[in-house]
């Protein structure tokens, strides 16, 4: 994984991508116990002019394949890990990328989406596995209620949260 992050950092240094941050199960692992996953979700700011049509993952693809990394379905396999590069698809994901926290893995600098943004994204995405992850966040006690609430308010997710609360958190202390 460290080797994968080093390649992504090199891609950033070479100007192929802007800021990036790990989300999904790997991002959640920063805050929770590790849980099995087969891929890495990287939210990434792409260095293309706004409105550029041929969105824009082509430079990433070209950069990586020219250095011997292969593509596999929607992934690029970097140092053994399938990586999916995800440009932010909405204001919530843009904010999540913007406010990602810096950390390091054995001396390699990297960024991870905040726990509150990961929780909000899971709530918005709303698949069974997203709710399961959201419950893990709640049970682990790693969410800052004030921060989460302001994210939910800003992105119109209060009602969804109330539904989630009624369904999964009713009767909890």
């Amino acid at each position: 994984m460290k080797a994968t992050l080093e390649v992504i950092n090199a891609m950033q240094k070479d100007g192929i991508i802007g800021k990036y941050a790990t989300g999904g199960a790997v991002g959640a692992t920063y805050y929770l116990e590790p849980s099995a996953t087969l891929d890495i979700d990287i939210f990434v700011a792409l260095k293309t002019p706004p409105g550029a049509p041929l969105l824009m993952r082509t430079p990433i693809y070209d950069y990586l394949t020219s250095r011997g990394h292969r593509s596999e379905k929607e992934y690029l396999v970097i140092e053994g890990w399938p990586v999916q590069f995800l440009p932010p698809g909405n204001a919530l994901e843009e904010e999540a990328l913007e406010q990602a926290v810096e950390t390091e893995v054995e001396g390699t600098r990297t960024w991870v989406i905040t726990a509150e943004h990961l929780a909000a994204i899971a709530l918005k995405t709303g698949r069974a596995k997203d709710f399961a992850r959201l419950l893990e966040f709640v049970e682990a006690g790693v969410l800052d209620a004030h921060k989460l609430n302001s994210i939910l308010e800003r992105h119109g997710l209060i009602e969804k949260w109330e539904q989630f609360e009624a369904k999964f958190l009713r009767g909890r202390p």
């Binding site: 590790p34 099995a36 087969l38 893995v105």
Partner: protein, 52 residues
């Protein structure tokens, strides 16, 4: 809930707390092991046969 079950659940919670508190780099190493295990299971003969 029986006393035995209460102990099992508490032990499970303690393990989760311990794993949660590990440094990120160590957690990522565990993720790699979990992934290898998942891939091994996915490739296993039994799984392959069931998929036919």
């Amino acid at each position: 809930m029986t006393e035995c079950m209460r102990r099992v659940l508490e032990s499970k919670r303690a393990t989760r707390r311990r794993l949660q508190a590990l440094p990120f780099a160590e957690k990522l190493k565990l993720l790699e092991k979990l992934r290898e295990r998942s891939l091994f299971i996915a490739r296993s003969e039994l799984r392959t046969r069931q998929g036919r």
